[in-house]
Symmetry: C2
Subunit: 411 residues, 2 copies
């Protein structure tokens, strides 16, 4: 007999949290450790305590609520996401995952579910990286990928550190942030892309996360008066840059079916209407689930930059900034999600995430996985971000049953 959530309660709760830091356009402006985030955190603690969860806060402000299982020594199942938002972001990103985890534990309580393992709800600090500019920070420290002191010393644009702000809002916990005894981690999140909506699926079992490769190219030509310099005498850095960028935008077609390439940033010097540009820097972001594409991307991109530079008689520099291999989520969790969806009679499809989440960090220390629900028009980091409520409910049903599946696995 599958678990059934309380859809009305789930929605009321979602609406209540959505009022904290609400924007006029229907989004959320609730940056990490601001007064709005403080208020949302307090509400979550209140709701966890009402469920008799054992609440603890670590040195990063990551907040846990533990529900015991039959075996108090068994490694717990960790479920949750983040309550912070992008500046003028959406209501679903992060928040929906925390509240799905809350609804899961409320359902367990309603149904008198007894699990073999403890289940812990978590709200990670500063996932967005908008205020303190390192994304997935709380989970990164928890996984040992980021140093706790470094994280606490990060300052916002007004010079206030994360540590000071944790103290100010009363979430400066004593517990070290490191985690090493978790059985599995499961996170529900909006897709932040249009795949599920386009295929008409309510939920996605996330098989893994795209790898990425970040690069930067600088083209150096010669500034000159736009009037008297004939076209063939120019060394126009922007003419070379636009040719290179145009070719780079076509690269995904040649690399793989799933690859995407983005030229997101372009800075022109001197950037004047009547001066031939002397220098242009632009960035390239290539993503794919194919590790071969990620590793071959810099060579392919540099080839386009070099070719355009040669055609326009300009010099170039090419920089490899950052690269992450594609991540495959745990088969244990993927199977639990599929089983949970089947138990709840929710149709699903497999999907690969283009964006990174706290689940990425958890994957380095435990069995980790995710459930996606659709984003209408693929919109995200935007006040217009929207997920049909029926899909939120379908996701929560699959999630609750998948959590039950994981938590009943004996140690």
């Amino acid at each position: 007999m599958p678990l059934d959530i309380d859809a009305d309660r789930f929605r009321e709760t979602f609406e209540a949290y959505s009022e904290i830091g609400a924007t006029e356009a229907g989004g959320l402006h609730r940056l990490a450790l601001t007064d709005a985030d403080h208020e949302a955190r307090d509400l979550l603690v209140e709701h966890m305590e009402a469920l008799d969860l054992d609440v603890r806060v670590d040195e990063l402000g990551n907040t846990f609520g533990r529900r015991e299982g039959r075996d108090p020594d068994a490694a717990p199942v960790l479920i949750g996401s983040h309550l912070d938002s992008q500046p003028y972001g959406g209501r679903y990103d992060g928040q929906l995952g925390v509240l799905t985890a809350l609804e899961t534990l409320r359902t367990f309580e309603d149904e008198g579910v007894e699990t073999a393992r403890p289940v812990e709800l978590v709200n990670w600090t500063n996932e967005e990286g908008s205020r303190f500019e390192q994304a997935m920070l709380g989970s990164g420290v928890a996984a040992g990928a980021v140093d706790a002191d470094h994280a606490r010393s990060l300052a916002d644009s007004e010079g206030r550190t994360l540590g000071e702000e944790l103290e100010r809002i009363g979430y400066d916990g004593d517990a070290p942030a490191g985690i090493d005894d978790v059985y599995a981690y499961l996170e529900l999140h909006v897709e932040q892309g249009p795949t599920l909506e386009q295929s008409g699926s309510s939920i996605g079992v996330v098989d893994g996360v795209f790898g990425l490769n970040w690069m930067a190219a600088t083209l150096e030509g010669q500034a000159n008066h736009a009037g008297p310099t004939a076209m063939h005498d120019r060394r126009d850095a922007l003419a070379a840059a636009v040719d290179a960028a145009s070719e780079i935008n076509d690269l995904p077609n040649r690399l793989s079916e799933d690859a995407v390439a983005t030229v997101g940033r372009m800075d022109v010097t001197p950037n004047s209407i009547n001066v031939i540009p002397s220098e242009v820097t632009f960035t390239v972001d290539v993503r794919s689930y194919d590790p071969d594409v990620i590793s071959r991307a810099p060579e392919a991109v540099e080839f386009e930059v070099a070719s355009a530079a040669e055609r326009h008689g300009v010099e170039y520099e090419f920089e490899r900034l950052w690269s992450i291999d594609p991540l495959e989520f745990s088969p244990v969790v993927r199977e639990a999600v599929a089983a949970g969806a089947e138990a709840a009679d929710v149709p699903y499809q497999h999907i690969v995430s283009g964006a990174g989440h706290d689940a990425n960090h958890m994957a380095s220390i435990t069995e980790s996985g995710m459930v996606f629900v659709p984003s209408v028009d693929g919109l995200t980091h935007n006040e217009s971000e929207f997920t049909e409520w029926a899909d939120c409910v379908a996701g929560a049903l699959a999630y609750a049953n998948a959590t039950l599946e994981l938590a009943t696995t004996e140690a």
Copy 2:
């Protein structure tokens, strides 16, 4: 018997002026009405008074030195250029024209030349428009194209007005700046392009000035996360902009033999490595000596913007900012320059200017024309700007003889 200048004196004078506002890299940093410009102006007045010229300063600080001819009522021939420089600009731009005019009058004096008409040397105020941001300002007011009070009220980046600065350095003259009784205007200038150097000519008889058309295009797409958005789901404003710019850079080949097109400025929003750009604005500068090209340019450019916008599913706006028709200089002055060059045995070629000069404004009120000398590598507005001294001398010889030709024309 053609006039022969004193090449040693000419060079010594050029070196002396080049020390005023000299930069370490061999250029000039002598913005209009600064202390350096003040010092250069004072030296010019000293040199004009040593020639017994009648010096006067108008309300714009334009400074004239008049040498009488046989007929004091005849309209004078006006010769000169400007002593102000670009920020960290070159030693030749402007200054060479003023000093060629000075050497011309010194030669007249040496040789006891008596002309039919008066000849007046002029140093125009704020030609560069670098400090007070309107180029060719002094000549513009003189020609009636710019209002004197408006010009005097222009402020530099620190809020000091042109009028205040004229007063500060003692060049706030009483005479109104308007001119209406000039027979002809002749200006020598460096080419600011590579044409003369490439063809091996010492001087150019300037037949006219390119027209120009300034435009701006804004492409509006949709910001989204660079990861999870498939290529075919994007509305990438920068992808559209680089395609459009690439096509616009190829337009000159299709428009005319002499046309040039420059995308000089490009601003990207939000300009972030992992966000698909939502908005891009770029400018287009098209120039040609063919009035038909200037008038057809906006249609051709907008077609490329619209096509790229359609291919990438983004919206666009197109703006026509400014347009100037091509200018043909006076046949009288062009013939006088050719005759002067022939008299001095200086080979010349005909050339069209890609940039605007004070001579443009003078063309609206009198017979106006120019002599160009080569710029090595076409470099200008740059401390490395350089003209071979032999070419400066050849230019001065042709200029002195052309001035004589114009000044001996009876009224």
